[in-house]
Symmetry: C2
Subunit: 220 residues, 2 copies
Amino acid sequence: MANSFTEENYLKIIHNLSGPEGVEVSTNALAEGTSTRAASVTDMLKKLAEKELINYKKYQGVTLTETGEKLALKIIRKHRLWEVFLVETLGFGWDEVHDIAEELEHIPSDRLVDRLATFLGNPQFDPHGDPIPDAKGNMPTADYRKLSEVTEGEKVVVMGVLDHETPFLQHLDRSGVMLGCRVEVKEINDYDKSALVLIDDVKTLFISQEVSKNLLVQRL
Amino acid sequence: MANSFTEENYLKIIHNLSGPEGVEVSTNALAEGTSTRAASVTDMLKKLAEKELINYKKYQGVTLTETGEKLALKIIRKHRLWEVFLVETLGFGWDEVHDIAEELEHIPSDRLVDRLATFLGNPQFDPHGDPIPDAKGNMPTADYRKLSEVTEGEKVVVMGVLDHETPFLQHLDRSGVMLGCRVEVKEINDYDKSALVLIDDVKTLFISQEVSKNLLVQRL
DNA sequence: ACTTATTTTTAGACTACTCTAAACTTTTTC
DNA sequence: GAAAAAGTTTAGAGTAGTCTAAAAATAAGT
């Protein structure tokens, strides 16, 4: 009855694609997310449905059952705690930790996760600003907006990112944008929606919509 | 050309069974070590030989090639570093860490291992007294004797254990025996080779040969 | 040395996960 | 509201690792 590495990955990806409202996830979206073919996804969905971890009706997409959701949150908790460990304790850059955490998240011991969380001081957010569920699966809430939705003149603080890939994060590093930095939106270009912003009151730069869509911010 | 979890396990176990002199390891010994059947071992040996990680001739047992040895030492390094982390950083007991480290040792990133080693202060020995190879594969030397080979009247220090299983380590815990404690051999029973010992000058107890064969000690 | 016992290897099969190609649903478009 | 397009599932097959049963090779006993 144990769950394989692969099964855990499916649950995690279904959770992530399903969003906060828990909408149905399509086979193709999962194929994309798992880097496999739709046919392989269908096979796995049957298996997960058999185990009652997902609600699956042919051609209708899937959602997580309560059990599936709990399991997914466990994996996500582990992933994010390991990311904190890699950055805070071992000194990795936030652009380097995703792939390693992707492996570490499947290490099974509950005692390990709990002790890791305690050692790290039970962090609420990971190095990319993503909330870390507690041992019972409760997510710290945080309603962030995308920078792309901020209007001219507003002052906000960077709280997280939506793209976790290395190239995006390195781009932010090179631009001097990191978690916690203040952003004042000076001007938004009508044509391409790029924004002229002031970072921490000192540095002025252009941010493309591509980028601002992937930056999560909070008023202040 | 990457190496699977399973392949890595075989290399590690071949190394361990092969001993310091690198003697041939038999198919049956590997079947025992990997908890599989001899037939499965043979299949895997063909695969590892194909990759030139082991020297394999039918019916003759196997040894590691230079490449195989390097890989085995990498896994062992990872395993032992993670054990140090679990005990020193997360506060696990030395009897709890073997199985978790067995999983962690297969996390691939070299950068992770190096940073972990640095964080831990480049330890030379793990919580069971086993030497930790450095990044180049050099083992710290340490010629320990078994407690069972110590003669009456000698005073020694416990430096390691040969059995890493939980029950044995818990038995030591209950007896108050741990790494670094002094042992004076008062008397050896002719009949069953059990020993009457004095621990840290304060506690007297009997140690069966079963146990003393699995305790590594050093003169002092 | 020759027979027996033990060890190891081969042969064929099974599970988990993956694939391609073809068939089948659902959605979109005109 | 039929025809085309897009999305999904079935069918059949492949790889990695495992198994049992049987054959082959080595080691042991007298």
